[in-house]
Symmetry: C2
Subunit: 134 residues, 2 copies
DNA sequence: TTCAGTAGTATCCTTTTGGATACCATGAAA
DNA sequence: TTTCATGGTATCCAAAAGGATACTACTGAA
């Protein structure tokens, strides 16, 4: 299953360079925002741009647009533009995108285990959010 | 299981800030090298510094040291120094570290699926490795 | 007429991540 | 006496990732 000796074969797929399929996956779902975006889409069939923004108050518009475009180009979600005014754009997971949900859930479980092991210090962001929501 | 509304609670654990356990996990096992290091330790009970370097010819000494220290400090592996000369230092997974192996395997599977979907372009690195090995 | 709401671009800047290079201590072997 | 191997540090630098701010087009409502 694992590819123990494959370390030496440097490959490329959709512009990402890697030596191991794991690396490729991290390039596709890694980063600061992509897991969050996929996570939110997991529970709602479709979400429009503004709704996504509201669920992630800390992300900037540029970042959200950028990450969504990459996820779309990697086939993890679809982007549907409605010719209305004001504009409406809806995002939804593809089958490929749904495939990573179990991985995110596993990551979530590991994170909780890690938290339990080391303890958590809350940072006062309940208030920060209240202000961020405007 | 999922923490849908937890997006708003910004927490901290071992110096890492996050809003969701997933993020924490990615902070712990993400990055360019950590998954690889854990992957190699998965199949060998203990590995010394130089052996790890040989399995990852592209990593620099600084990076390997840095990543190993972080993994150690996060409790994913142990570092054993033998008072010999020349020095010998051995690294091994902890139980916590072994816990992420299934996640790496899942990432590996997803990566392969992704490759299968989009195709791979090999970059000539079989030769690159031969030279990198010195 | 000005404002709000949507989904963006464009530009510039800061922070984080990763990399190149040089250096160190030790003891055994050549 | 010089060299080699090991497992590092220290310093500086380049590239990538992420962020702040300003701007756009369009329309309907106030």
């Amino acid at each position: 299953m694992g590819e123990p000796g494959t370390i030496c074969g440097r490959r490329r797929c959709r512009g990402k360079e890697y030596s191991c399929s794991m690396e490729l996956s991290l390039a596709v779902i890694g980063g600061k925002w992509k897991p969050l975006i996929l996570w939110h889409l997991r529970e709602t069939p479709t979400l429009r741009f503004s709704a996504l923004r509201r669920t992630m108050p800390a992300i900037t518009q540029k970042m959200l647009t950028q990450q969504l475009r990459e996820l779309e180009s990697d086939g993890l979600l679809t982007r549907t533009v409605f010719a209305e005014v004001p504009p409406r754009v809806e995002y939804a997971l593809t089958d490929l995108g749904r495939g990573i949900i179990p991985i995110l859930e596993a990551l979530c479980r590991f994170g909780k285990e890690f938290e339990a092991r080391f303890g958590v210090e809350a940072t006062d962001a309940t208030t920060a959010v209240a202000t961020a929501q405007r």
